[in-house]
Amino acid sequence: MIKIDHLVKNYGSNCAVDDISFEIQSGEIVGFLGPNGAGKSTTMNVLTGYISSTSGNISIDGIDILDDPLAVKQKIGYLPEQPPLYLDMTVREYLNFIYELKSCKLPREEHLKEICETVKIQDVSGRIIKNLSKGYRQRIGVAQALIGNPSVIIFDEPTVGLDPKQVIEIRHLIRGLGKNHTVILSTHILQEVQAVCDRIIIINKGKIVADEKTENISRVVASNRRFNAKICGPQKDVLAMLKAKQGITYCEALAEKDGDACTYLIESEPGTDIRKNLFYSLAERNWPLIGLEALGMNLEDIFISVVDQSDANEKATKYRPAKKNRARNTRSQLETSVATEMVEEAEKKRADSLSEQSPAGQSGPDADDRSWDRHDPAQESK
């Protein structure tokens, strides 16, 4: 459906997108995640033909964006970061204009009405956009992207500025769109990605650092490997016991107290369920377990870890290889391990695709060299 192949975009000497490759299947909802300035918007702008790539190919439904830009643009509905609205038009005028601009063939009245209903703007259709609130403007932006029923819909942070109810509505809408459209969603709200997307691509400093199915991540996230346990008993002894126990990789006493019970944060080894075991051994010692709460893993922490990890890796390969595996005390190991796994996998993919492209010679060039090599004169002249 959508194929991005070794995309590179340089702004002068600044490399915004550095050799990104991925494929998106029809009907997939893909979340594009990354810190500010990671290259999300740049990738989307290249994908929609707003700016051009320095090198690399993009094709949609097998049509290269440089060969037939109009045909590709016809297939894309795009909502940029700032919804592109003509503030002095009424909503109806604006949508009519978009309809004509996209030279849409669908029956006008019905199509526009349907879209207005899906994004719930039918009751403001006669009003001037200037006078509408941010939420309504955002929804008009979404409506604009839907006109012409494009097969690919690209949203750049669609829920910014909406109230919680509208956010849920828009997420719902995007999920609905995923049934017969391909949706790419850029955001930095992680719950949104988790709620909406089938697949998550995390990008940092212009590189893909992780590319995973959401369900995989969610499974990891939801796995019961971390608990808050409330245990009555002398804190020191309990802690010592927990630390000594097999299957527990990490434990810590929290400040929270409930009568004579302390709360402990426990992390278990992957693949072992320590709850029963824990209960029996506490019962043996006569320390009642009065609460056991499973904690999901924090997607946010994974995200930060992934980004950190990729930064660290980059630094490690560039400056200090020895520091690559230095222990991290700030974050718990769980997220770090998941993140490492994801980053390594993404790197492997990158390496694979690189070796595919140039089987010999380029064993380990650094990033700058690579972007120069890819400078394709044939595209420059277009």
Binding site: Y11, G12, N45, T48, G49, Y50, I51, S52, L70, A71, K73, Q74, I76, Y78, P80, Q82, P84, L85, Y86, L87, D88, M89, E93, F97, I98, E100, L101, K102, S103, Q144, E380
Partner: protein, 256 residues
């Protein structure tokens, strides 16, 4: 392209700018026509059209200043550039919309010439001799009118180009006004003579360049009532080059 053309045309009337342009232009045209012909008791429209050219040097930038500058500022150009429209279509749509407003008001301003014809007819009826022509010379008026139309078309193209270079409407207007005024006034520099009747600028190369830039030189041939092919090509190429550069500006921005 048609969609953009229609939208632009509508935008001129949603915004006050279309009304301002048409209103100021028509008022000014009527006043200057009245002053240069009827009050001066003259049938010659040369002064009228010359004044109009100077008025356009200031008015046309008002018409073109927002065409691209505003799109850039509101980020709506992102919409146009990601829509299935070519950049050429976008530029021409905008250019033609401005041209339409200009053409419309120019045609409306022809009303100003009716009184001259009426007065001419009356005077002809009152005089017994018919050896010399009394009343306005239609061929001259047509020539001047076509000349001003072509000049305006070129000015609009220049204004559109300058508007595409900035995202500030005001600076677009100011720069356009100065560029167009220079192009109009350079004629004076070229024709300037010192006390002895010697040309101030005698270097042929400089004169040639100045002559090329001077838009008024070509116009004066139209003023004699002749349809000058060279002038026509000159103005058409001015339009073409400006619009071509506008397209290049957008292409360049995409690729940088």
């Amino acid at each position: 392209m048609l969609a953009i053309y229609k939208k632009e045309l509508r935008a001129y009337f949603i915004n006050p700018i279309g009304y301002v342009f048409i209103g100021v232009f028509l008022t000014f045209a009527a006043l200057s026509c009245c002053y240069t012909t009827i009050i001066q008791a003259s049938y010659s429209t040369t002064n009228y059209f010359t004044i109009m050219i100077f008025a356009f040097a200031i008015l046309i930038p008002l018409l073109t200043m927002r065409s691209f500058a505003e799109e850039r500022k509101l980020k709506t150009e992102q919409l146009l550039l990601t829509a299935p429209v070519t950049i050429t279509g976008m530029v021409f749509g905008k250019y033609l919309a401005a041209l339409t407003i200009y053409l419309g008001s120019m045609l409306t301003s022809l009303v100003n010439l009716i009184p001259i014809y009426v007065i001419g007819k009356q005077e002809r009826a009152n005089t017994s001799y018919s050896v010399i022509h009394i009343g306005p010379v239609t061929s001259q008026i047509v020539g001047e009118f076509v000349g001003v139309l072509l000049l305006g078309a070129a000015f609009i193209a220049i204004g559109v180009l300058i508007s595409s270079l900035t995202e500030n409407q005001l600076s677009a207007a100011v720069v356009s006004i100065s560029v167009i005024l220079v192009m109009v006034l350079i004629n004076l520099l070229n024709n300037a003579t010192d006390r002895d009747g010697q040309q101030l600028i005698s270097n042929y190369a400089i004169r040639f360049v100045l002559n090329w830039v001077s838009v008024l030189d070509r116009y004066s041939i139209f003023g004699t009532g002749r349809l000058d092919l060279a002038g026509l090509v000159y103005y058409a190429s001015l339009v073409f080059v400006s619009l071509f550069l506008t397209i290049r500006v957008y292409e360049k921005r995409r690729w940088s």
